[in-house]
């Protein structure tokens, strides 16, 4: 294994200290910057949708991956963000302000939900968040005068400081900048006390308390940040969808977000990105598979949801660390070849775990 000799605390604190890491991230960013030269505007707008989902995934990662609070209703926050943003922009509010308002409002609703469910765990939390998203979907549908109800509402184009961004490449850079800003921000949060408090709450609420962490307020912070990011993602997504209707932000999208972070690997930012790539390509893969499937199966409603669900289950059972974990193992294998032992990643036999608290 490569050992990095650290010579100052700052090396511990800084992001991307390993040269390999720097190169990979740099290459990805360079690729994203060059994308408009390489892709047609159709694919650029597909990429913008991908950026929006990746951002929402990072939001969910903060909540589920870092803070251990499962949410099967995160699409509701994306929806709140999308509607708030679209409504404000339609009323002439400048894009940056509308996007900020979308994030803050979604974050506020998230914090309130977080407070309400702060004593819940596991299954109950999953049900509560699911119920919340169903309620939100209904509320959005019922607020017809503002949201257009189930008839939907059109989303105006993007204008930044009076300049209309109509070209796909212009929007591409805007979306990329927002995504990178939040990736950077979340990475910052996770190397600071607030982020560590989230990890502490995830791994042991009891000892988090005994070390001075107010568990309820840590959960509310996690819900706030997570919902805020999802809301901003919703604002971005709205412009790409061009037309909003409440059903778009239903259970299907929540499931998709959950799949992203589980497949990518809970507890890592790169996991959310890997997962978003995977989930974006999955529908294409499913379409390709459709050709091979018997007719009866292809015409079944909900085939896609079924496959999403199956993937979540499979990853949880076979690779709980997700693609990110796979990647770590692969890298270790290459670096230590031929000395790699499978045992490196097999957990030590657990000692008696009776009497553990929550």
């Amino acid at each position: 294994m490569r050992v990095l000799f650290k010579t100052s605390y700052d090396q511990d604190i800084d992001l991307l200290v390993l040269p390999g890491e720097r190169m990979r991230v740099g290459a990805l960013i360079a690729l994203a910057i060059l994308a408009p030269l390489l892709l047609s505007s159709y694919y650029l707008s597909e990429l913008a949708i991908f950026f929006s989902f990746a951002l929402a995934g990072i939001g969910l990662m903060v909540l589920t991956g870092f803070s251990g609070q499962v949410s099967f209703g995160h699409a509701a926050f994306v929806g709140i963000g999308a509607y708030v943003h679209a409504v404000l922009v339609a009323r002439g509010v400048p894009f940056p302000l509308a996007l900020a308002a979308a994030g803050l409002l979604a974050g506020g609703v998230g914090a309130a939900l977080g407070r309400a469910v702060s004593a819940m765990h596991g299954f109950y939390l999953a049900i509560a968040t699911l119920a919340f998203s169903i309620v939100m979907e209904t509320v959005i549908g019922a607020m017809e005068p503002v949201t257009g109800g189930h008839m939907g509402m059109p989303v105006p184009g993007i204008a930044l400081f009076g300049v209309a961004l109509e070209e796909a490449w212009q929007q591409h850079y805007l979306y990329l900048a927002v995504l990178l800003f939040f990736v950077w921000g979340v990475a910052n949060l996770m190397r600071a006390p607030t982020g560590r408090a989230m990890i502490a709450v995830r791994d042991s609420e009891t000892s988090a308390r005994s070390l001075g962490i107010d568990v309820r307020s840590a959960k509310m912070t996690a819900f706030f940040v997570s919902a805020l990011i999802a809301g901003v993602a919703g604002g971005l997504l709205a412009h790409q969808l061009q037309y909003l209707s409440p059903e778009t932000f239903g259970v299907g999208m929540s499931l998709k977000l959950m799949l992203m972070i589980v497949v990518g690997g809970l507890g890592s930012i790169s996991g959310a990105i890997f997962g978003a790539v995977f989930v974006s390509f999955l529908p294409n893969a499913i379409d390709a598979l459709r050709a091979l499937m018997p007719d009866g199966l292809v015409s079944q409603a909900g085939l896609e949801s079924f496959i999403f669900g199956a993937f979540i289950a499979a990853f949880i059972i076979f690779e709980p660390d997700g693609l990110h974990g796979r990647w770590r193992k692969l890298r270790l294998f290459l670096e230590t070849y031929p000395y790699y032992k499978r045992a490196t990643f097999i957990r030590q036999k657990r000692y008696l775990k009776t009497g553990r608290f929550r």
């Binding site: 190397r191 995830r202 791994d203 000892s207 005994s210 070390l211």
Partner: protein, 254 residues
């Protein structure tokens, strides 16, 4: 004034009294050991101090301040840190991260400043690391700093938990069976560290421990507990020779 004064502490689960009017006090700078057969209520005392369990009656005062009025997360701010019998570490985090969480009660936080990583945040991180680094040196754990806790063997975890508690700069340390599950060599290390912690850092220690050898080596006073009641308090010899203590142990063994 005593560091810790427990008075008439009663904790009950349903009809069963895990602690029945337990009273004792801990003096500044001493190592106070609590012994007793399984189910005596030893851990329950710690859990009542940490406010994980709610006391039915009694009081727990730290320098005269009533702890039973505080929410759980404020206890450590007074200067009381603890370890757990079953080890409660943050498993999917590194040793360093675990210890930094130990600093939580001593650092200022602001989510949005941290999100933007303003210069003050970096200064805070450096300061936290300086303290953590001291503790890593004290417990001879530098080589573990970047390891994930879930990859560590049992003995190392015990030390990490002790280190994490020390990072809170406690005045009073509650240790629930610090030597259980350790081999003789590790136990010897532990007893040296506890001495260092007491003498160099001036920390007052209350520990639950079954290993009478360790208790004899470092404890100033011992309290024996059985069935939620105090049987005897005094020096190690006094308590060991106490008749009621002997019957309690024999009774438990029989």
């Amino acid at each position: 004034m005593s560091t810790l004064t427990v008075d008439g502490l009663t904790v009950a689960f349903g009809g069963i009294k895990a602690l029945d009017e337990v009273s004792f006090h801990v003096e500044p700078g001493e190592v106070f050991a609590i012994i007793g057969p399984n189910g005596a209520g030893k851990s329950t005392i710690f859990n009542a101090i940490s406010r994980i369990y709610t006391a039915r009656a009694g009081s727990i005062r730290f320098h005269g301040r009533e702890i039973l009025e505080l929410p759980p997360h404020e206890v450590v701010r007074l200067g009381i840190a603890r370890t757990f019998q079953n080890i409660e570490l943050f498993e999917k985090a590194t040793v360093l991260q675990n210890l930094l969480v130990g600093r939580h009660s001593r650092v200022r936080r602001s989510a949005w400043r941290e999100f933007l990583f303003l210069p003050g945040v970096r200064r805070g991180e450096r300061a936290a690391r300086r303290k953590v680094e001291e503790i890593l040196d004290l417990l001879d754990m530098q080589h573990l700093r970047d390891a994930l806790v879930c990859d560590l063997p049992y003995g190392a975890r015990k030390n990490v938990e002790l280190a994490r508690a020390l990072c809170a700069e406690p005045e009073l340390l509650l240790l629930d069976e610090p030597a259980s599950g350790l081999n003789p060599e590790e136990t010897a290390d532990m007893s040296f560290w506890l001495k260092d912690i007491k003498e160099e850092l001036g920390v007052t220690i209350v520990m639950v421990e079954h290993d009478m050898n360790l208790v004899g080596r470092i404890a100033n006073r011992v309290m024996a507990l059985a069935g939620g009641r105090v049987l005897s308090v005094g020096s190690v010899e006094e308590v060991q020779s106490n008749e009621r203590v002997q019957t309690a142990y024999l009774g438990a063994a029989a």
